[in-house]
Symmetry: C2
Subunit: 394 residues, 2 copies
């Protein structure tokens, strides 16, 4: 075992294993096979851009987890995981993107060799990195095992952050602030959007002081004007224009931990409609923050925001946020609780959410968001120090 390269110490990883095993026992699972790269990293420290091939972590109720992946990435496992090398195993390159054989056949052999051929094994049915084919092959290769859906079992254990994790997220938030300042300063009529994004990226990777920047799990989303009616457009090389709002949804990243943030910049004079919407949005965010307290529920935040919006006569439906922390592409959300009317997750100290009640209207978009920490007492703490307002550059 070596914790030389992992972001956290032994205590933290043991805490995570214990929490996860308790959940496994509650679900009647002998083992889980975890493909979500964030879950892999959270349990073992594994860090590398290798999730485009099949890999994962096999965890039973005792002993070290086993990281399994492509042979060449086993070397990366040895550099980044805390387990003994015997628990970092690889499959041959001939399995990679073959149409004849499949890596899950190799995994099945390892599972059987560990006496788990008849076990009840949790798999992440709803995950980018566990394909329909992977499940079909694994099911066939383990005829006596029971593969049960354990989607988000590990993700839920990540919901309440340790003090160390909150420390990482605060560092990410400081990077987010630096990046946002860069975006706000650089935005001007005639400036190409990609040139603004180049500076955004540069600021994010440079980081703040000794806290170097990692790659965020989502690239900056930076649409302007009519494009900002769409939530997930990225950028192009067109110059920014007077009379348009641009939202900058982005995140700093410190050792895979995120603190997303969005601000909208208007070049010129915003319409009365937009100013009224901004007023409602800010009032709604304040109302949401005020009920984002330990003991309340995620839906309370959404409902508080919606009540303010309704008072201002603005219609808005849909999700308004999600937990954030450790993440890999393509999503910086944790995919467990949601800030929405239908979600009744009880808030606990140490939970961190991206509260993002954006307004995407017919001809423009207005997005002001906060990453918030649920506190021991009182209202949630927004981690950004950037003014919460529509930035108008006239």
């Amino acid at each position: 075992m070596t914790y030389a390269n992992t972001p956290f110490d032994q205590t933290e990883y043991q805490r995570r294993l214990e929490k996860t095993r308790t959940a496994m026992i509650q679900s009647g699972l002998d083992a889980i096979f975890v493909t979500d790269p964030s879950n892999q990293a959270w349990l073992t420290g594994y860090d590398g851009w290798s999730f485009y091939v099949h890999q994962g972590v096999l965890l039973t109720l005792q002993g070290e987890p086993v990281w399994w992946g492509r042979h060449m990435d086993m070397m990366g496992g040895r550099r980044t995981c805390w387990m003994s090398h015997v628990n970092i195993i690889g499959y041959g390159d001939h399995f990679v993107q073959s149409t004849e054989i499949h890596p899950m056949q190799d995994l099945a052999k390892h599972i059987q060799a560990r006496g788990l051929g008849k076990a009840r094994i949790g798999v992440e049915m709803e995950n980018y990195y566990y394909s329909a084919k992977a499940h079909a092959v694994l099911t066939e290769a383990l005829p006596d095992a029971e593969l049960a859906d354990a989607t988000a079992l590990v993700n839920w254990q990540r919901l309440v952050k340790s003090a160390d994790e909150v420390g990482f997220i605060r560092k990410a938030a400081a990077i987010s602030d630096k990046v946002m300042q860069t975006a706000i300063e650089r935005a001007a009529p005639g400036v190409r959007k990609n040139d603004v994004v180049a500076d955004i990226m540069h600021a994010g990777i440079t980081g703040v002081g000794d806290d170097w920047g990692d790659y965020p799990a989502i690239v900056p989303l930076t649409p302007s004007g009519i494009d900002a009616t769409a939530a997930h457009l990225t950028w192009n090389g067109a110059p920014m224009r007077a009379g348009e709002a641009t939202f900058f949804e982005l995140s700093g990243c410190y050792r895979r931990y995120h603190a997303p943030l969005c601000r909208t910049v208007f070049l010129g004079r915003p319409s009365d409609d937009m100013l009224r919407a901004e007023e409602a949005q800010l009032e709604g965010i304040a109302a949401g923050l005020d009920v984002a307290r330990a003991g309340n529920r995620t839906c309370d935040i959404a409902n508080a925001f919606m009540a303010v919006l309704a008072k201002h006569g603005i219609k808005r439906s849909g999700r308004m946020g999600y937990p954030v922390g450790l993440s890999y592409p393509p999503d910086w959300g944790e995919r467990t609780a949601s800030i929405r009317s239908e979600d009744t997750t009880v808030l606990e100290p140490g939970m961190v959410f991206h509260f993002m009640p954006a307004l995407w209207m017919d001809s423009w978009g207005l997005e002001t968001t906060e990453t918030i920490l649920i506190s021991e007492t009182g209202a949630a703490e927004p981690l950004s120090k950037i003014d919460r307002k529509l930035f108008v550059k006239d």
Copy 2:
């Protein structure tokens, strides 16, 4: 229909539809549902960082394709796809990451409404964006349809590039060169790796002249020293050190088209071992390029390289390359042909490969790669103008 915002004109998209439909007929498919974001963009122009929720393109044997996704991303579809708005459809936000209902239930209704309830429909079983759960739900919701595995059906149609696509890849290659120059210039003992990567990112997004930079599908891979024995580590904030080799595997990106490139920089004086390996690698690449001709096969390239390596007494197994072009995270490869001994794909003019016979040794890594275009006549054309050598900064 509007081609105002798409990267290519109507002729190009019609060419793609025809090719794809021919393949569908050969496979006996009435329709395909395509989740690979690269395939979606290739067929419809759709471009947005929304692939972290379920979305896809439904294509039958006639008429326009249908882009289906989250309601808020339907707005992005209207901004980026060429089809009529009636063929860009969305599902409600209550489906997103719900544990009660699943977006595939919504898709199934649209499929049935189009008279495809009993059709033979191809799905991409082996894809990041078609989860095991998605397949299970869709199968259950379409009890009378036959879901057949059509993994890579569209990817294979992308293998031979049109002249317009080659033009885009050349632009990406020029960006890659600019980025690589930046990396080589900036690498020096004492410089933090993340500061080098910040400049790399900046150069890549700035682009070259009017050719603005898009985000590559993989972030820069930049490991040094012992970390370079692993293929897919990213970066950290440690200063670069004398006596170590660092490889920079990266790609410029022009409107989602890639031209990956790798060069290795040694700070100080490389060992004789490394110099001998570099000599073998360069000779092997030249041998590979020489047989990378229309009519030859992908395995010929691999075998030519391996023969040179064997002559120099170096062992190397595994894949040595893959086709590249239009891509979204997490992979800039197209996942069809491979440059490896077992692969017998016949080379045709217009194919573009990342030929990457990297050497990952016990205590260091050496990676020199080229994006190559299969020509009408003669050997393949490497698209980079960067010297092909180990860069030694003593």
